[in-house]
Subunit: 179 residues, 2 copies
């Protein structure tokens, strides 16, 4: 079965600082024409920082889109033109938690919402942590919280962690542990 | 530490069929003013259909935003004004896989990209499956594939599944099994 859709035309309807939005006319697999509203984003990284004691360094921050304080792992957008995801992961880890790590393990990527959103988040596990000062962005306000990985996994299983990247990395780190 | 941001003003910059976009001025926790670009979405559901033999009914579909065919679990947007997530989950399961289920277990919700995106996806596990005819939407082209849950979990661990909701539900279902 043919599944591909081909771009016929693309019109930019919003050009922002973090995202831009296009409305694209596409040729569907059956030859008919469809419309796709696409949010373009330059991508992001996230890091699960795991201490030698088995604690995860989490951050609580207010997410305006949901009107709630969320418990998440450290993360951040790539800078404009940035292609080095490892460097971005080390930067976000340091900015948000003040930590450096001796080991940074790539866990793969996630597509948050593939129907409309081009964002790709690259996931890392950081080990061998040492702690210094935090230095978050000017518009970033965070609280740091240490939570045992085992407890976080139980929180995910009870549906108490909403953020997708945090759910994924917690379960990945938990399941890796058994190896 | 105060973390909340308060809305000062909101300007709609795009009003589409699937999303609309606002640019909001907000008061940051330190009293300064910040800007938030927010993509509004009415929410979605996803379902991991698990057969008595331990297979997951997956769908492959082309995701124009990424230019790739992705392996995912069945999912779909809520209809306008729809608040019954269970009914939506049963509908998407039937439309995309032709299956009915005798048991539909709520797994909780996920926020795909909480920094900018209001979308909430409600997750379900479907058991006791019986199969009839599929009837996807007019602009939806899918291939159905049965994959053992154990194998899917290994694919997630190797970084071969990109879609966030699929990674989460596969690991949730796998970890639930041990109980």
């Amino acid at each position: 079965m043919k599944l591909e859709e081909k771009k016929i035309s693309s019109k930019e309807v919003f050009d922002g600082k973090v995202i831009n939005v296009t409305v694209d006319a596409v040729e569907l697999p059956n030859g008919a024409e469809g419309v796709r509203e696409i949010v373009h984003h330059r991508g992001a990284v996230c890091v699960l920082p795991l201490t030698d004691d088995g604690d995860v360094i989490c951050v609580r921050q207010f997410r305006y889109a949901h009107g709630e304080v969320l418990l998440e792992i450290p993360a951040g957008k790539l800078e404009e033109g940035e292609h080095d995801h490892r460097a971005a992961a080390l930067r976000e880890l340091s900015e948000e938690t003040g930590a450096e790590c001796s080991e940074l393990i790539y866990l793969g990527k996630l597509y948050p919402s593939p129907a409309i959103f081009t964002e790709v988040i690259h996931m890392y596990l950081a080990r061998g942590l040492t702690f210094g000062e935090t230095h978050p962005d000017d518009d970033e306000f965070l609280e740091i919280e240490r939570i045992p990985l085992e407890k976080l996994k139980d929180m995910v299983m009870r549906g108490e962690i909403y953020d997708a990247k945090t759910q994924i990395c917690v379960m990945r780190a938990y399941l890796e542990k058994g190896k």
